[in-house]
Each structure stands twice: as C-alpha cells, then as structure tokens.
Amino acid sequence: MGRIVLDQVSKKFGDVEVIPPLDLTIEDGEFAVFVGPSGCGKSTLLRMIAGLEDLTSGNIEIDSEVVTEVPPSKRGLAMVFQSYALYPHMTVRKNIGFPLRMEKMAPDEIDKRVEAAAQSLNLIDYLDRKPGQLSGGQRQRVAIGRAIVRDPSAFLFDEPLSNLDAALRVGMRLEISEMHERMQTTMIYVTHDQVEAMTMANKIVVLQAGVIEQVGSPLDLYHKPQNVFVAGFIGSPKMNIFSGSEAEKHGAHTIGIRPEHTDVSMTDGTWEGRVGVAEHLGSDTFIHVHDTGLTDMITVRITGDISVKHGDKIYLTPQADQIHKFDAKGQRIA
C-alpha cells in the first residue's frame, strides 16, 4: 500500500517561501509525475515526502499514518537520485543489499533478494563490480535495484534519467514504466522533461514557483489545460499562444492553438505568414512561420513531408474546435 496525502504542506528557506501551503493526494499504485521548470520546487516537494527536508508547516500522511516527524528510513519509501548516489566503496551486490543489511536481515535472505533484483535488471554479470566500473545506465539500474529490494510502499525518483544520453533515456523510461505496470506500486517521479511526464504518468502535477498549476491525467492536461502556463508547458512543440484582436474575435483575452491543430495551405487560409525555418523529420514537418501579425512566430506541425522553404508565403487555418481560450488572468474559459 502507498497512498500519500499532503495536507497544507509548505516550505520556507529562511524568509523565502519556496512552497506555499498545498494539498495533494497520490493514490495507491499511481504513477505521479511532478513536472515544472527548474526551481519550481518539485524536487523540494519530493524531498519533503522522502523526509530529507523538514516541513515548515502542514502534514504528510502515508497510508493514513502521519509521518511528518518520522525519519526517512522509517517511512517505507525508496528513493532513486539523479546522481545515482551509489556507495563507491561497495560492489554492486553490497550496494543493492545495503538497505537489507541495515534492516539486519539474514545474509541468505539478502543474497536471495539481491540476486532476484539483479536478475530483473540485467545486472547479474556485474554483481561483483564496483560502481566506478559501470556505465551510466548500469549505475542507474543499480540505484533502482537498491530501491526495489526493500519492497517499499512507494518509489521516489528525483530526475533519474537526466544524466543519461538521449537513447538510453528512452530505454530506461520504458523500463521504469514496465516496472510500474508489473509491480503496481506507487511511484512519484520528478522531471523537468514534459515528454517523460506525458509518457510515464497516470497523474501529472504541474508546478510553477511552488504552486500546483494543475493536476490531471496526461491527456486531460493536453486537451484541457487550466491556464496559459500549463498550456505552454505541456506539449511539444509548444502551443502557440497570443493575445490581441484575433483573440478577441474568439471572445477571449488570450487564445492558444497547438502546432498539430493548424492546417496549412499555400494558397489560402485564415492567417498569412512567411516560412522562417522548416524542420523535416520525415514523419513530421515543423514549420516556423513569421510575419503573421499575431505573435513573433507560429509553429505548425504537419504529418508527413511537405516541401516548403525559407521565405515562402504560407496560409494557416486553426481547427476551430481546438482553440483554447483564456481570460485576462490566464485562466481557461470553459
């Protein structure tokens, strides 16, 4: 079991309030992702749940038990750090078995569990190596192994993939997702990468300056962003957002249209502009359009290939039912 409830939790560093009081519930078995730009307080929030950071006020409950004053190791949580944080002086076997040894488990049982974890993470051939002799991906696996053996009620991941190269990152992302499908244990995952958030999460918590901007499933956030910040943050390439007379035509202060919800024509359309850069990915083409009179640049995404080049005149037509409308405060208009 691993239901985690944050009740009016806040954090101040000196006089600076990094997290104003917030409420959040993460259900048992959920894969929750905290996402936001750097410095938004997502790691701090995770560390508060872990017990590595004190709360300034509020309470944290794990399975209906208040753990605010409980030390990290007694909360039944396991954490995977961005830097892996392996013990460099111990072999992989000792690293993975360390939390069990601290629980004073019998050596036979420790061996059995370490081998089982190593098996599932493809580490069986590396058990007697030290972390210094492993690649980044292998180190991250060891860190995950050290978390798994404890059979925790929830896993906490603090940007675990940011030190890996792009190809490895995609692979590990899948592995962690599969691990979640298999174990059905609560996981809280912190990242600044919205692609990771969208692909892995059941529930995304978007944070900005310590404030929760929106909580919801990835598709909720994609289709119904609650405000301009979430609209701009979720989705890649970014949503085109602009104010002015075009927005007023739609009865809003600000409107947003996603690159993939804009149709393109070389002959006619609602908005006229000139092609700045066209990025040809093969499967898709991203066209960055200037001189529309709406905003500096509008990005559109076309499935397949289209032959346009710098300076071409181009016409854009937003799909009417996909226009997101926001009021003067940046909040969504239903």
Partner: protein, 277 residues
C-alpha cells in the same frame, strides 16, 4: 622552439639540481646531528674532528643511564597516541556535522577555530600553568593529552571538513533513505569513503603531537615529560655534552622520521589539501 628547448633544459638539469640543493639544505642539520651522535663529547667540540673522527656507540649505549631515555619515549608515545586518538574522536563527528548539516554559523565557527591558531601561545602560558597547578593536573598525562588535542583540533577539523566536503551529499542522503542512523553514516559510508583523508589527518596530528615542545616543556617536570623535554633539559649548566645530546636527539626524532618516510604520499596529500582540486 628556442623557448621550448630552454625550458626543457631547465627541467632536465636545473630542476633536479635545485631540488637536491633545497633537500640537502634541509637535511644538513639532521645529518650533522646524527654524525655528532657518534662522536665523544670531547671530539664533538674539536674542529680537527669535524669530519674525521673515531666513531663510538657509547652515546647510544649509555643513553638509558645518562638520560633515562625510555621513560621519556614512553611518555611521548602515550601522549601522542592518546592525543591523536582523542582529536580524531572529536574532529570526525564535528567535521561530519559541519560538512553535511551546516547551519548559518558553520563558516563563522570554522573561522573562529582557525583564529585560535593565531593566538600567541605565550599569551596564555601563565594562566595555563596556574590553572594546571591549581586543579592538580600539572605534569600529568591528562593535561598533556588535553593540551595537545586542543591545539590540534582546529587543523584536524579543517582538514577533515575539506575531505568530507568532497563526498556528494546525495550519498549520505541515500544512506538515510536506506535506514542508516547517524553513527552508521559515519561508520558505513563516511569513514570508508574518506579513509585516505582521515589517515593523513591522523598522521599529521600525530607528528605535530610528537614534535610539540612549547607546552610539553613548560607544563611538565618529570612524570609526564616527553622527549622534547628531555632534549630541552640537556642545556646542562656545566656545558653541553654535544655527543650525548645528539644521540638522544637522534633517538627522539628517529621514530617520527621513519614514520614520515613510509607515509610520504599521505603526508604530501595532507599538507597540500585543498591546494589542488
């Protein structure tokens, strides 16, 4: 090209010559002391026997009779070993706390500790003597061990702090998540990771304790007197017995020179800590 050739010429010939020159300059007093220790007291002051003389081992053989060498040596070992142990016992947890759980005043505390090393020892000499005498600790091991520990604590804490700072905080936090208590963090993670740093700190502190003379000479008479006191005490009124004195001095510095020789690497690392990053 000319510049390259010139600089390589210096590094081929000039640098070794310079290094040997400086090395010999520092080594000469020790060499002279060892040489004199094999002369009779009479030969030691005669210019014609400066280099050429009939060597004798009498100074060493009579050391115990002449000076009660072993009693002083035992005292030196007791005070240096105990003071080193006590210094580490206090400085490891202190440096750990400052490196991993710093407060707003940690920097100030560190600077304040360092500032005590700038205080002239003479300024507190008489208060120390009166204090020691009035509480009945004058000329005891406890006093010497305490004083040696106190004067070495700042440097030990600073050194260890620097070593501990290089250990990533994440590793200590991973330990916390894995169920280690504070003592476990020190024993299971900190000490194995900073072993080299702790060893060089211990070695330096030991050498400083062994060589300390200002306080050991002034705070002891007989019972707790160390080898420093023995050497100092040989300024005999009837003239100096250079031969005997050299023998006892050689025997006093001998152990530490041997120790230093074997631990050169750690010592250099310890002395230049923080200099190369």
């Amino acid at each position: 090209m000319a510049i390259v050739a010139q600089s390589s010429k210096f590094s081929t010939y000039g640098r070794p010559v310079l290094a040997w020159g400086v090395g010999l300059l520092f080594f000469f007093p020790i060499f002279w002391m060892v040489l004199t220790s094999f002369k009779t007291d009479a030969d030691a002051v005669k210019p014609e026997h400066l280099i050429f003389f009939t060597p004798t081992f009498d100074n060493y053989l009579n050391m115990t009779d002449n000076y009660d060498y072993w009693r002083f040596a035992t005292n030196s070992v007791i005070s240096a070993v105990s003071a080193t142990a006590f210094t580490l016992f206090v400085s490891v947890p202190a440096a750990y706390a400052m490196a991993f759980n710093p407060s707003r005043s940690t920097k100030d505390v560190l600077m304040w500790m360092l500032s005590t090393k700038m205080l002239p020892a003479a300024a507190v000499l008489y208060p120390m003597i009166f204090l020691a005498k009035s509480i009945g600790l004058y000329d005891t091991h406890i006093l010497i061990i305490t004083v040696l520990s106190l004067i070495n604590l700042p440097i030990a804490i600073w050194m260890l702090f620097t070593y501990f700072k290089e250990i990533p905080k994440d590793i200590i936090e991973a330990g916390k998540m894995d169920g280690v208590n504070t003592w476990g963090e020190i024993k299971e993670i900190l000490v194995p990771l900073a072993w080299g740093g702790i060893a060089s700190t211990a070695l330096l502190v030991f050498i400083f304790c062994w060589n300390e003379a200002y306080w050991t000479v002034r705070l002891t008479t007989i019972d707790a007197a160390t080898l420093s006191k023995l050497i100092e005490g040989n300024r005999a009124p009837e003239g100096l017995f250079f031969g005997r004195l050299s023998a006892v001095s050689t025997a006093a510095v001998g152990p530490i020179v041997v120790l230093g020789w074997f631990c050169q690497k750690q010592l250099v690392q310890g002395l230049t800590f923080g200099a190369v990053k």
